[in-house]
Symmetry: C2
Subunit: 343 residues, 2 copies
Amino acid sequence: MTEKKKLTLKDIAKELGISVSTASRALKEHPDIAKDTIRAVKEYAEAHNYVPNFLAVNFRKSRTFNIGLIVPELVHHFFSTVISGVIDEAKKYGYNVLVSQSNDLLHDEKIACRAMLASSVDGLLISISNETLEGDHLLDFISEGKPVVQFDKITDKLDTPKVTVDDLEGAYNAVGHLIKQGYKRIAHLRGRENVKNANERFQGYFKALTDNNMQTSSNWIKSCIAISEQEGYDFAKELMESPNPPDAIFCITDLVALGVIKYLKESGYTIPEQVGVMGFSNWKLAEVVSPGLSSVDQHGYNMGIKSVKLLIELIQNHDLENQATLELKTNLVVRESSLKQPD
Amino acid sequence: MTEKKKLTLKDIAKELGISVSTASRALKEHPDIAKDTIRAVKEYAEAHNYVPNFLAVNFRKSRTFNIGLIVPELVHHFFSTVISGVIDEAKKYGYNVLVSQSNDLLHDEKIACRAMLASSVDGLLISISNETLEGDHLLDFISEGKPVVQFDKITDKLDTPKVTVDDLEGAYNAVGHLIKQGYKRIAHLRGRENVKNANERFQGYFKALTDNNMQTSSNWIKSCIAISEQEGYDFAKELMESPNPPDAIFCITDLVALGVIKYLKESGYTIPEQVGVMGFSNWKLAEVVSPGLSSVDQHGYNMGIKSVKLLIELIQNHDLENQATLELKTNLVVRESSLKQPD
């Protein structure tokens, strides 16, 4: 940093190894912040001529009534429904929405963020890419006085408000249903290990098995990377050709489940009699595929509404410190693919 | 109009009953414009103190590097692919994209347009709603020096560049394929009569029948309003229960075809043996449904790229007079639903 550049909250946070919101609260002597931290921040700010009201002043001036929205993928039923909810709700408050996609790549996500900042959005809604672990690039928004709300795919390493679905409970209920239907050997095609919702769905799966005194095997748990139909197909083949094949497969998303169904049908397995299949997301295709795919509905439209309402509230209140977490409930949609014992 | 308000190109066009681009070209004495028109426009402009260079000057100043994009529906596979193409391509030129939806309602489309104008977009990409017949509200962009490009669902009543697919040829090839497969009584579930692409698909259907010396009946042609799965289901029922049922049904979109397949399967008809089914758009669901649905691929991603490239070119060239029409080719994707005579 050159001497001439104005010191930002982000600089202070970085220098002291704390989050931007902690630095901000420390400057205001917030009771949640440790005395030592408050002292350190204030001393640093004073020594470097930090102008504490800079953000608040800047905030009001720069209002464009544009909000940024970045999703991993646009051609994706769930994210389409979220975007639709965001745009419909934003309209009610007079906000327009700039939309971009990261293609699940950190590099593209950073470019999208820079473009949004260049366009002076008033705040950002983001569902992070599979490659995003820290999310430091999102701090640029906060240090410019623009709130960020994370939704669906989030990182806990960043202190921003978050809107998620209760993935753990959704998975727990889905696997609980498979158990009630009489499936005994339930495999799981999970997502990447660094992705929060993949971990929560895995935990829900594991908890449902444990609570029902059922066992699993590491051979029955496979990690999808691309979360694709092809992976579903390939892992289903691997599982069913193994010495100890499962009798049900719980998949991280409907697209993966689609590949599983394709393999099982091609190989002459009956669904749901011989093998049960469960997806997650409840895309349109879950209804269309044959047999109909049981899945977990995530209510994307509602998530879009909730996320943008929260963001607009933060923008209007000049609130960069909020760390609210909203967890939306899912519901199980049972179709033929898991109905071993119809009533 | 009060005396104080600055006269715009739109005012002149309206007063003289000509299009904005005609008025603009008349002022520049463009050779394509009739002498009388040129004289009338120039006289009117002079009498009302019109400042002819206003647009060009304003143009450069107001650049925001934001583009507006309005589609009928966001939760729609085809439009998602178009949006994805627009955003990916716009990024290369440093443009962000404000996205909105009209829900296929004229009222909502007007609101979306006003919001985009308020946000000072540099230009607009729009696929109009089913209710939009004239598109006068789009002139507000042109009179503010912001080019408009229409794509997919367009109106010829507005002189703007247009990017469409060759719907007529797509439908012609689809119905030609049904004829080659030996279907003799081909019904068509078409779209609204005031919607251009619905008319072109109907014309393609009709031309394929005529060129092959085949007949149709008005009883075999039904107009969908909502373009929904339910309409497909209901019309299929009506057609198949009629005294002279068809042996193939060509549908305006895959979603309508989905309803047709649902009805046929429920009622015990075999597809493609007893009844062939053809969709249009080639959504993901066409691949997923059983039997696989033959359809016409519209290459939405490419349409998005082409449309935004054209718009950016117009913005960069300050070109409000361009009326280029780009017609993209479709291709037929044959799956089981129409394959009566497999090789």
